[in-house]
Symmetry: C2
Subunit: 343 residues, 2 copies
DNA sequence: GCCACTGGCTAAACCGCTATAGCTGCGGTA
DNA sequence: TACCGCAGCTATAGCGGTTTAGCCAGTGGC
């Protein structure tokens, strides 16, 4: 068995070419200090010997670890069923692997564990930057990354923009798209099965629903908070549908809850879409395999992940970087779960 | 903004305690060379100064990178919806974080890209070990990890055991559990919507079904290959149910395909479980939110991930390690999607 | 009273790469 | 002719750990 340790080092190349290790380093990193002729020769030998930089050695010299971190602090039982973060991860990896960086994804139980992890990572120099997701009001992570001196990008607009670069889509506009559509179908009682209200994106959607509903003179657009689990999504649906003035349309903050809600409706003998319309804020296979398939907001999540990675690389290269990228508002994909009210 | 680089080093501790850096290293790593008194003092100061080892520095000294790799080579569109690997990842992380290691998970398009990635990782010293999943017949990765000198553990039994340590459950026995149950319900035509036949676990299940079916004198238990996508799962179901001698029970290799299959059955007006019983090989939220909920094999995937991590750590510590761990055969969880045949 | 041994430490080399100061030889300038 | 500047290198000092060789004082054996 060939030992891993036998791989060529810069010194090996130097010996073979007959120059100093420093010259090899110059050549391999494309910086001045060697003639074009020597550089070409060095590059050739390096390729021949199949040389690749030793990550740890580079990182030790003060350079980068070549890893960015992504921590998800949600109940992992509900997490795995969502494609959203898988696609984000995949999009990030596609962009980063071209720069020979990688994503370190970790699942933790709560924000406290997440913060702990960031401290560990920072002190061990494990990551060059972070992606913060599921932003909250007064999010403690924003101060933390400053304190740790770690470049970071938020996925979703933070409460106070301009503190960190972020990649975001307009949640209010997205909700408006949905209400527009439902109102056009004569729905007048629209409810919202939301996530935990601490999350800004959920709060923004709820606020947008309220303002849209009152602007159009519809009935109060209530948002029922949940923990994103299928169980609470189902319970919230059951509660809403048990009312005398039950909604004719429900908007769900996740595809998993929407699917669970659909199940509850069928169980209660409420026909979808005839007497109840269902819209999901997220798209995934899940929305397509249930019956009827769910009308939902759809976006190119892979591209979103790629954008996050690009922005983070900027932030790493230039710590003063603060620019935010607004991405396309998700577009509505109409499927079988929505129809005219009172159909 | 505090600079990341300001964190304490071993030299800082040494200065403060008044000993040499070497002594501090001995103390912190619990090896002989310092008195218990000095050791205690050093540990105290280290804790006080909030010292943590610089990963890169350790790795450079020939020690470990503190990272293990997990590569998934499947179409990421179908991947994200399965909880299986999310749970595996989570279980691994829980075990590894106690040893302050991390999992580097990466999604790639195919086995060629996976192999490429392993070569990159090995040459950059990025990982200390690998978890190989979705084993195939004549799997090229087994020779590769030998060549690269990378410790590895397979999740699932390889074609030729004893080449690498593995953590596995008995697929044949699992299929037998299902056939036992279905046969007891008088099902005589059992079909199988499988994954790609290159995967050993899928092949083993198909073989077990065939042998069980013939041993019991049931009708030929056909396995229809798919790519694990909901689309192909649906297509396979449609084909099976369109036959004159259509099966009364279908076993699916994944929860996603089972859910898609259920949708097709309902669409075709075939009642589940009255005229068709459905069993999924995998469990997840998905099997619980569809209606009827799916009978499925269930296992503690988190524990499985933990076991994989433990075994990999063994393999890293002792490269000669070859022991395999057989885990519990998944147990059948009966839900609403199965009933007596012809019921 | 001398030697061997040992516990507890220090000094220094080393891991692979980057960064910087310094050296060399050549052509051009005053 | 002496000097400068520059391209093109070499030598060397880190980065933050681990590891080995070696030093010194104390101790026990004979």
């Amino acid at each position: 068995m060939r030992d891993v340790g036998n791989r060529p080092t810069i010194a090996d190349i130097a010996k073979r070419v007959g120059v100093s290790p420093g010259a090899v380093s110059f050549a391999l990193n494309g910086r001045p200090g060697v003639s074009e002729q020597t550089r070409a020769r060095i590059l050739e030998v390096a390729r021949e010997m199949n040389w690749r930089p030793h990550r740890a050695a580079r990182a030790l010299g003060g350079a980068q670890a070549g890893v960015v971190g992504l921590v998800l602090a949600r109940d992992p039982r509900t997490l795995g069923s969502e494609q959203f973060y898988t696609q984000i991860l995949y999009g990030m990896q596609d962009t980063l692997s071209a720069r020979s960086s990688a994503v370190q994804m970790q699942l933790v139980r709560d924000t406290a564990a997440e913060i702990d992890l960031y401290r560990h990572w920072a002190s061990e120099h494990r990551v060059d930057g972070l992606v913060l997701v599921d932003l909250q009001r007064d999010d403690p992570r924003i101060a933390l990354v400053r304190e740790l001196g770690l470049p970071a990008v938020t996925l979703g607009l933070p409460a106070e923009p301009d503190q960190l670069p972020s990649v975001w889509a307009d949640d209010a506009e997205a909700m408006t798209t949905i209400v527009d559509y439902l109102a056009a179908l004569d729905h007048r009682r629209i409810a919202h099965v939301a996530g935990p209200p601490v999350y800004l994106h959920t709060a923004r959607r709820a606020a947008a629903l309220r303002s849209q509903v009152s602007a159009r003179g519809l009935h109060a657009g209530e948002s029922v908070p949940t923990d994103f689990s299928d169980a609470q999504g189902a319970a919230a649906t059951r509660a809403l549908l048990s009312r005398a003035d039950r909604p004719t349309a429900i908007v769900y903050d996740s595809d998993l809850m929407a699917a669970a809600g659909l199940g509850v409706a069928l169980e209660m003998g409420i026909e979808v879409p005839r007497t109840l319309s269902i819209v999901s804020f997220d798209d995934s296979v899940l929305t397509r395999i249930v019956h009827p398939a769910l009308t939902c907001l759809s976006r190119d999540t892979h591209a979103l992940g790629a954008q996050v990675a690009t922005t983070l690389l900027q932030a790493i290269a230039d710590p003063a970087w603060r620019e935010s990228v607004r991405t396309e508002t998700p577009r509505l994909v109409v499927r079988g779960s929505t129809a005219r009210a009172g159909g």
